[in-house]
């Protein structure tokens, strides 16, 4: 370790670290726009300038290697003056449109301006105009007037997603971020740029004007889009900001998804499928138990299901790859002892979807295949085995292998019309349950319930335990 001091505070740094990295790790907040731990060094924003003992000029701390006994000052008058000057340059042509900007409340430009900027503007010039809210493909909007040209998004598409879809054209004060005009904007990871943008320049077309961010709070969850099991944050309305006069559905809405940093699993990124998770979950829910296609009470449905299983000559359960490890354990210790257990992939690759790449996206489009196969042998349902009663756990598209069987289904979503399900018991979808998935590399990843379970919706583990009794 290398010892240095920042503002008279002793700090230990690793060899090869920069002053900014060491400072941030030690809880000294040196402001920065362009530096991002996962991206190459740009050194262009100049807001992280610090004073190094013995050097005449201020140095950008993001490009300053630590050295033994280095003395760094980040709060002297000189440093603060330079920081203020840089912030003044940044806000010179930045519109004062925080009132209608989705980024307000979690915007670095705003935060630093309040914290370090000068109250009064000295510019007498008109602000420069650049393209505003220009669509980048179907998902993003780019506002060049809000952009501070930190190049994080450009470096992201160059170094992380490697789509090279964004660049900075023109020079001097005319410089602006842009996409190609002659090629379609395509990047399966594009929405990550919204989060890394330190200003409101890049915003989501989906989230646009949906909510002020300070009404929202994140809940730790896991993307079920593929076997990577990326950590995500699902944003819901804060309890004290629940709406009363408007639709109460707004209080049970996921407003947006953002990546949650998880070095073991997904680093700082997720793919666009993850950002779209609420949309994927917006299918018609199974909210009431059905017996023989007719609404029934929970106890009626459970009773009927129990009778079917108990009376069956050769019962089987098809396990869901969306089940959590906790649910799988409950099942393994109870009903699984009494029935034949089959495994399956609930979801398969959809058209227009990235099958697999060398970054995050995995070909298995289910979150917990690993957890399932840790507990149960990989074993596809055998229609010829003569099962008379089958419990289908999870969603199902193709019911044909189960023709002739009496079906009990535990599912969060309504089965397709014509599905011959004798007993349907609604169970909680991802956002209404807590648990753990194990990703394809064997890493456990925990998710928490974003909302309470809907009134008649059941806990799958409990249902399976009851069926075994």
């Amino acid at each position: 370790m290398i010892n240095l001091t920042i503002d008279n505070k002793r700090i230990e740094a690793y060899p090869g670290e920069t002053v900014l990295q060491a400072a941030l790790r030690s809880g000294v907040d040196i402001p920065h726009f362009c530096y991002h731990p996962c991206l190459s060094l740009a050194g262009n924003c100049r807001v992280c300038l610090v004073k190094v003992d013995g050097r005449p000029k201020l140095m950008p701390s993001c490009n300053l290697p630590v050295a033994p006994d280095m003395q760094i000052e980040s709060e002297t008058e000189e440093v603060l003056a330079a920081r203020q000057a840089v912030l003044q340059f940044i806000t010179l042509n930045h519109p004062a449109d925080c009132g209608i900007c989705d980024k307000a409340g979690e915007c670095r430009v705003q935060d630093y301006h309040v914290k370090y900027g000068e109250g009064e503007g000295i510019s007498a010039e008109l602000k420069a105009h650049k393209p505003k809210l220009k669509p980048l493909g179907e998902r993003l909007l780019l506002d060049n007037e809000r952009c501070i040209l930190c190049s994080r998004c450009v470096r992201f598409t160059r170094e992380i997603s490697r789509s090279n879809m964004l660049g900075i054209v023109e020079r001097g004060s005319h410089a602006r971020v842009t996409a190609l005009e002659t090629r379609e904007f395509q990047d399966p990871y594009s929405d990550n740029v919204i989060g890394i943008c330190p200003s409101g320049a890049l915003s989501s077309r989906d989230f646009l004007y949906k909510s002020r961010v300070w009404y929202l709070e994140p809940v730790r969850s896991v993307c079920t889009g593929c076997a990577r099991c990326c950590s995500i944050q699902a944003w819901r309305r804060k309890k004290n900001w629940h709406v009363r006069s408007l639709s109460s559905e707004l209080n049970r809405t996921i407003y947006r998804i953002s990546p949650l940093e998880n070095p073991e699993v997904n680093g700082s990124w997720i793919c666009n499928k993850g950002f779209d998770l609420p949309k994927a979950m917006a299918r018609e829910r199974a909210l009431k138990p059905l017996v023989g296609g007719r609404e029934a009470t929970v106890s009626q449905a459970l009773q009927q299901a129990w009778q079917l299983v108990s009376a069956a000559s050769l019962p089987a359960v098809v396990v869901s790859a969306h089940a959590s490890n906790e649910e799988l354990d409950a099942f393994r210790d109870t009903l699984a002892l009494q029935v034949t257990v089959y495994t399956r992939e609930d979801c398969s690759v959809q058209a227009d979807e990235v099958v697999e790449d060398d970054f995050l996206i995995r070909p298995d489009k289910n979150p917990n295949g690993y957890g399932v196969h840790q507990r149960f042998e990989r074993h596809s349902f055998d229609p010829a085995a003569g099962h008379d009663v089958v419990v289908i756990w999870g969603e199902l598209q193709d019911y044909s292998p189960f023709a002739g069987c009496r079906l009990i289904q535990l599912t969060p979503f309504l089965p397709p019309a014509g599905a011959d399900v004798e007993v349907l018991i609604p169970i909680a979808p991802l956002f209404e349950r807590s648990g753990t998935f194990t990703n394809f590399e064997g890493k456990d990843n925990r998710f928490q319930a974003v909302f309470d379970r809907a009134p008649l919706v059941q806990d799958a583990a409990e249902v399976l335990r009851r069926l075994a009794a």
């Binding site: 100049r46 003056a81 330079a82 840089v86 000295i122 900075i168 023109e170 020079r171 001097g172």
Partner: protein
């Protein structure tokens, strides 16, 4: 002070730029000597001993720059910086047009010292005759066995690739030149790492100015001691000094370093146009702070003296401004230039240069406001020392200098909405 000529040592004719002419005046003798009898390190030592300093503007000792390069690195690159663009400077052009082989020999000597296989000459895109003369000279050198495999039958092989710029002042900054040569926008790079450690395509790279490299053959031919005899103690040799603006005989002169500025203006350049009085001198290209007549009274043209006077010798381009010139409109010419040439990468320069230009343009249009001058000074302070490369300082220094020395002209313009000198630039 002894003075030989490193450059102006032949008569310019329609043929004097050719290989034959160059050889007839002893050209490529230094290369022959080096390849036959000197080790690469000897060449470097000789240049170090000569005290040669970079002629591009910063004045860094050339031999020391070479010594930073890890010679064991599998690849070392040499780039000749021929992106001459500092307003007031027109010396490299002369070398290309009249003595291109002198540069090629210099490049080859440096390449030999640094063990470079591929050297690049990054030449300004606008240059026309220079470009053609360089291409011709390279072709001549290649067919004479002076370039390519086994130069002059030795074990040393080197190719020189001439690369044309695309019109960007900032590409004269060495790391920007490297970005440009790699096929990108000419964004300057953060240092560290310095080019000598990680430059072109991440390999150790030396970037030297045209005049610097063209001086090397003379040093190898005549010896470091002979070179050191010229110039001043800390700044040896001669330099190509350009003089332009309001003088009777503008042009390029080779003079020993330490030559008196007044003599340069009043004797070599024939004095001020129309016998007018001198108003100010920009001593080393447009980025350097201007000096008043009393400040050049005993000034000599070497880095130390000019620095002591509060400016810099830079690229050695003197711009002379006569009495009666409107300094407000003249500053606008410069702010417009720097705003146009800011690469757009780092915040202070990108925003600051165009902001300064807008304010100066407004003042020069008669719409100045009280407080504008304070704002300008503040902006210069916000830029200076805070940018990725030196262009920020280059843009801010003239503004600071003009305001410091001619503030009353700006105040007059703001108060009356018109120039003290009828807005004249030409006299």
């Amino acid at each position: 002070m002894k003075a030989a000529n490193v450059f102006f040592n032949f008569e310019i004719t329609g043929e004097s730029h050719t290989l034959d002419a160059y050889r007839n005046r002893g050209g490529y003798g230094a290369l022959q000597k080096a390849l036959c009898s000197l080790q690469p390190i000897d060449v470097q030592n000789e240049v170090t001993a000569s005290g040669l300093r970079g002629r591009g503007g910063a004045g860094f000792p050339t031999g020391m720059k070479w010594s930073f390069v890890d010679k064991m690195s599998p690849v070392v690159y040499l780039c000749c910086n021929a992106d001459e663009g500092e307003p007031g400077t027109f010396k490299d052009r002369w070398i290309f047009e009249h003595s291109p082989h002198q540069l090629i020999e210099g490049v080859l000597l440096a390449a030999y010292a640094l063990q470079v296989r591929h050297a690049f000459i990054y030449i300004r895109g606008e240059f026309d005759l220079s470009w053609r003369r360089l291409k011709e000279a390279l072709a001549e050198a290649r067919s004479a066995g002076l370039m390519g495999e086994h130069i002059l039958g030795s074990r040393f092989s080197c190719d020189i690739i001439a690369h044309r710029g695309g019109g960007a002042y900032v590409c004269g900054e060495e790391s920007s030149l490297i970005s440009s040569l790699e096929g990108f926008k000419g964004y300057p790079r953060n240092k560290p790492p310095f080019p000598a450690v990680k430059g072109l395509y991440q390999s150790p790279t030396v970037v030297n100015n045209v005049e610097t490299l063209s001086t090397v053959p003379w040093i190898i031919a005549h010896g470091a001691a002979a070179y050191k005899e010229m110039g001043t103690e800390k700044n040896s040799g001669t330099r190509l000094f350009g003089i332009s603006g309001h003088v009777r005989k503008p042009g390029l002169f080779e003079r020993p370093v330490g030559y008196p500025m007044k003599k340069f203006i009043y004797e070599d350049a024939g004095g001020i146009e129309g016998g007018k009085k001198l108003k100010a001198v920009i001593p080393g290209g447009s980025s350097t702070p201007l000096l008043l007549p009393e400040e050049i009274e005993n000034l000599t043209m070497d880095a130390e003296s000019v620095q002591a006077a509060g400016s810099m010798l830079g690229s050695g381009g003197t711009i002379v401004i006569a009495e009666g010139t409107c300094m407000v409109r003249l500053l606008h010419v410069l702010t417009r230039f720097y705003a146009h040439e800011s690469c757009g990468q780092c915040t202070p320069c990108r925003e600051g240069t165009s902001w300064m230009d807008k304010i100066v343009a407004r003042i020069a249009a008669g719409r100045g406001q009280s407080g504008d001058l304070d704002s300008l000074e503040r902006i210069t302070r916000g830029i200076m020392g805070n940018t990725v490369c030196a262009l920020g300082d280059a843009a801010a220094m003239p503004v600071a200098g003009f305001l410091r020395k001619f503030r009353h002209e700006f105040e007059f313009f703001i108060e009356h909405g018109c120039s003290m000198y009828g807005g004249r630039l030409e006299i």
